[in-house]
């Protein structure tokens, strides 16, 4: 289904933030904001939910801890007992101190990589994926607010445009997307 989307461009993040506040107060639903850098405090204004990335980080980290523990137990104790510095080589628990730094590192490695890959997947920004932002200038010094007509059925396109024009935007664009 084709959809009409309005893009309002701003050259100042504070102007955009104030504009967003006014629009939301009038009942307009803002679908997305594109910005070259994170705008502090924009999330609650346009109703973006708190990220659940932290929960995933914990799960990835625990996975790393378990993998490292299992791996080292298998390599160093079970499969081929290693005698390093005369430490008892037939028990994992008695040598656990020696394995902790590696467990820690592997936990961090899994948590960090897992988070980075999840983040890229979730944002559809893996290398080679088509760009999502409507205007390349939003990666430089411009800010764009995206408003979908389908999400604002109380207003007509003209009413929306009228309201947006009052917020200090510098360019207005309307597109049909699929």
């Amino acid at each position: 289904m084709a959809e009409t989307v309005i893009y309002a461009m701003y050259d100042d993040d504070d102007v955009l933030k104030d504009g967003a506040k006014k629009l939301v107060a009038k009942g307009v639903k803002i679908a997305e904001v594109f910005s070259p850098f994170p705008i502090h405090g924009i999330d609650p204004i346009i109703g973006v939910k708190n990220t659940r990335l932290g929960i995933m980080a914990f799960i990835y980290g625990i996975t790393g801890t378990m993998l490292a523990t299992y791996g080292m137990r298998f390599f160093m104790v079970e499969d081929w007992p290693m005698n390093i510095g005369g430490k008892p080589n037939f028990t994992y628990l008695d040598n656990i101190l020696a394995f902790i730094p590696i467990t820690f590192e592997f936990t961090v490695l899994c948590a960090a990589h897992g988070m980075a890959i999840t983040y890229l997947l979730r944002n559809k920004t893996l290398p080679g994926m088509p760009a999502q932002n409507p205007d390349p200038r939003t990666t430089d010094d411009k800010f764009v607010m995206e408003i979908r007509l389908s999400e604002n059925s109380n207003f007509s396109a003209e009413q929306l445009e009228g309201m947006i024009r009052e917020t200090g935007m510098i360019e207005l664009d309307q597109k049909e997307i699929k």
Partner: protein, 404 residues
Amino acid sequence: MTTNMEFTITNKAKTVTLALIVVGVLFTAIGVFTGMSDHHFATRLLANGLINSFFFFAIGLGALFFLALQYATETGWYASVKRVIEAVAGFLPYGMILMLVTLLTITFMHGAHIYTWMDPEMYTKGSHHYDAIIAGKRPFLNEIFFWVRTLVYMAIYYIFWMGFRKRSLLEDSVGGTDLHFKNYKKGATFLVFFAVFSSTSSWDWLMSIDVHWFSTLFGWYTFAGMWCSTMVVLVLTTLYLKKLGYLPNVNDSHIHDLGKWTFATSFLWSYLWFSQFMLIWYANIGEEVAYYIMRIENFKVLYFSMFLINFAFPMLILMSRDAKRNAGILTLVGLVILSGHWLDVYIMVSAGTLGANAQFGFLELGMGLAVLGFFMRIILINLTKAPLTPANHPFLDESVHHEI
């Protein structure tokens, strides 16, 4: 924005702190009468004096360090809780008196089996207990140089503390940025002194108990423990004031930040504890492992459970964002790890002085409670002495709007 809100100590707080002191003194008296006949009594009494005076002195010092750190980094968010930090740092002079009295008594008793290197028997050639290692350390570990160092540390801490407090109160009436930039310079200078003194003073006051042993990590380890205890005290004091309706500018984000500091310093402490332990365990050199063998022989359960509690408890419970914003959870975790860090200092001192003869009875509990009550009372009194919001702090506005 309400400024100039004066704090008054509630009757309940007065009763509780007084009760702690009275119960503490009573328990100490019972401990003294029941333990007096014991051969190790003097050592036990002074070891407890050292444990409690150092632990609470260190919290005051930690608060002074934290204040200097905020000045040196020109932090904004802390402005709303600055007076809480100052109230805790204000215990420093009292902690110094406790420390000086304890150290002076120990010195007059020729070490009292706490600092064995003060005992002339140990370093006089030809005497019965002559110890070549102690005699070799004599140029550094002798009473005169020890006292010169102790007094220099104390004097410098005291001078910086008085300066910070004076300028902080002056700022309330004067305003402007001159004082702010002066604090910035003084804060950075303090950190330079503190970087060296935090290590060397822990060698002098704690590491020299186990006089044959040394660890280059020991200073940081002690410092991390004290920083963590300080952060817990700051969180608890802030939550207490919030509960009474003070500190209107402190919001969830400030509490969250203090919670993060507690979480982070717990990790710092655990990391350093582990690093020191693992390297010594791995190398397995006789002179070094002796320190841990003493602890494992006499304090096995206490020592390792203390580590597990101080490490795992904050890690698992304080990890989530919501927990760090929840007053109940923060209070619970705070109280547990504060006792954990007290236990850490208890073992640090007891293992090297009393070893197998160490006890945990009325004396230990009593002296701990008495000093705790005194410490809490002093903090409360300090809070009444200045408006809880520093009126002209240049970053106050930033702190009021702090949001994370």
